[in-house]
Symmetry: none
Subunit: 228 residues, 4 copies
């Protein structure tokens, strides 16, 4: 984590091009998903395709780089939320802001290629997991959050809300607010315990892949619990 990890300072113009590529990728990925061609991205960035290939070994590498930026943003959001004065408001803030990030980058899931580079995502897990835990623990300590909610649930909740973001609507913001509110209702202390556990932890919200159920705590099986 010293200077070694930094990829040898780029020349000014190269750095500019690199960023231009990532920005273009962001715009295009967000607008049309993984389908965009590298030629298009390069053109949008004002450089030649070959230049894109100097910076990124292949299309997936570019998607990856683009992701890394998003990850940084996601972590920043979580950090700020975890330090909020009121734990419950911190949780709400985390969900709201993360959702904005996700919605602004539609089709982000496509970006995660099958057998490719899971590194950055794993790194996301490592950075964000403690923050999620803190968000949940603090809120539960105040009694504002139901006891059986686990940190990993937050990722899934974001995934669910992200799906709402895919619904085209005249007033999308209001639509999202509606379902955020709905879900928040579900997060309040409730008599019906949740069956199963959250998936392993984190990330799934952004990248569907791997992940195990959870520790579980389904004591009572109230009638509202869905049975298999």
């Amino acid at each position: 984590m010293t200077a070694a990890s930094a990829p040898r300072r780029l020349r000014a113009d190269a750095a500019r091009n690199r960023q231009a590529l990532i920005d273009a990728a962001e715009r295009l990925f967000a607008a049309r998903g993984l389908a965009v061609t590298l030629d298009e991205i390069a053109a949008a960035a004002g450089v030649n395709v070959a230049t894109a290939y100097r910076h990124f070994a292949n299309k997936h590498e570019l998607a990856h780089a683009f992701l890394e930026q998003k990850i940084d943003q996601a972590v920043a959001i979580a950090q700020e939320a975890a330090s909020a004065e009121d734990p419950w408001q911190g949780l709400v803030q985390f969900i709201t802001r993360s959702l904005e990030l996700i919605v602004a980058n539609r089709d982000l899931h496509d970006v995660f290629t099958p057998g490719h580079k899971r590194e950055s995502l794993d790194r996301l897990d490592q950075r964000i997991d403690p923050l999620l835990t803190r968000l949940v623990t603090r809120a539960q300590a105040t009694g504002a959050l139901r006891e059986d909610l686990e940190p990993g649930d937050l990722s899934v909740i974001l995934a669910m809300l992200g799906a709402v973001g895919d619904i085209p609507a005249e007033n999308q913001e209001l639509l999202l607010r509606r379902y955020v509110t709905l879900l928040l209702c579900a997060l309040r202390p409730a008599p019906v315990p949740l069956p199963g556990g959250a998936p392993a932890q984190a990330r799934q919200a952004h990248a569907p892949r791997s992940g195990a159920p959870g520790r579980r705590a389904d004591g009572a099986q109230a009638s509202d619990t869905v049975e298999s």
Copy 2:
């Protein structure tokens, strides 16, 4: 099954081919998303590509036809649920069964390409909307369902749960049950009213695309309501 989709009575073998194509498409789309080639689908159906083109103007038409079948199934599910003895259980059953249908056809969203054929989906709306309304109304009448929930919300809820289905997990069924339960908590009568309204109605659960927000002008703004 929908007579409307096959305007002229087909010769027996042609009809068999048509169905074989749709079945093959179902299998392949489900397994690998939009990436499959028409050649592959045709081969899997045991016919030539050109034959596929006799039945479907293009790849999207085929995907569309495939969808029509799913729609029929979705309507059937809604019908049965709307006639359930216990309204609340009917609602739960609707969600559960629909979710199964959605999850079994993962990657279904890819199938919808930007400017293509919305007809069949609109038809879904027409057939399913009354059923959703009945589901909701009945449940609200018994006091089991919160008053501010609208029929259109059901589609969105299914869309959210469908997103959970995209998360790979060791025990996917348990995972889904967890979040179905979570959402059911949110559907119970609650002091916090939902802001906005459900999107225009129906469908988005299966096919996110177009559609307007809702009519409601939100009354009370409890502290759990997310503000813009």
Copy 3:
């Protein structure tokens, strides 16, 4: 070896195209080696590149198909030579005609791609080895050919003469004749035995790859034998 091995009779036009592609490949490979692009070959054959890909999975497959034809020709030459009335003349004829084939297809060696499809070449071995043995045995029986020459030597001799064919000359035919004659001198019964043995058998003349030395028979080490 019945009809099963034939790749399902092609339609007339397809067969025409296929042959046109092979012919074009022959012309271009002969003239410029493996460097030619598939686009060029397809253009020369008057078809679209994609058509080339319908017939041949990739560039190497095409080269391979082209080779198969050459192999047939080579086998025919060997067959005729092995049945010549005068064994020595048969040998001379084999060398002369094979050389013509090789020279007419300059850069034929390039065609043999590293890790690809050695099948057809191995098949050449199987078909041609007995013929080479017969050529050598018969000539040795009449005392016209030195006793220590092995069938596998013939391939190497052709490889050597093929190298002469790569030398640009005003009168190439005469040039070739000169060195064929020179080598024939070396094939006559001689007091100096050859060290080592011929490589495993056949093929090396056309495709440098694999192959083990030989059985060996170097009894006396006359002064003309090159020592290590």
Copy 4:
């Protein structure tokens, strides 16, 4: 080594770079033929591609420069051989050593692209021709070498043996020795005169390309002479 190839005296480091490039080219060309990229060569030499371009106008220039060095080595071999005590042994030595040089630099032919720089090769002719003539004349004077062999034949003989070097074999050295011996047999005084004449002179052994046949009008046509 050839002063002519470096017109202006280079600064010490520049000269070092130049040589490093040639050495790297040698290593890589020998190992993988013309396929290597200039980037690779430059990297192997520890310099930047652009630096390579300061020293060599293009890829072929570099190959060319690399050749120049080989030529110096070839000339040295010929010189030593021409001064051998026993003329026949000198000839054998020349062939053996030259062959080693050729085999050690396989794929050398690829280096010669159609319309490029023949100069250095012509210069080889000028330097080596007298030596070849001396080798042949001396050997013929002792009666050890057939009378109709011409100096230019030696290059062709090396070209032929070089082709043997392209054959992969478990014991390549033994394989080469076998065919060197075979050819030496052919060089002994023989009753069958060679038709035609050697190509113009020299070089073809290393670089097959252009060049005219020979002057000789063939005299007697014994039965072993191959007729057109």
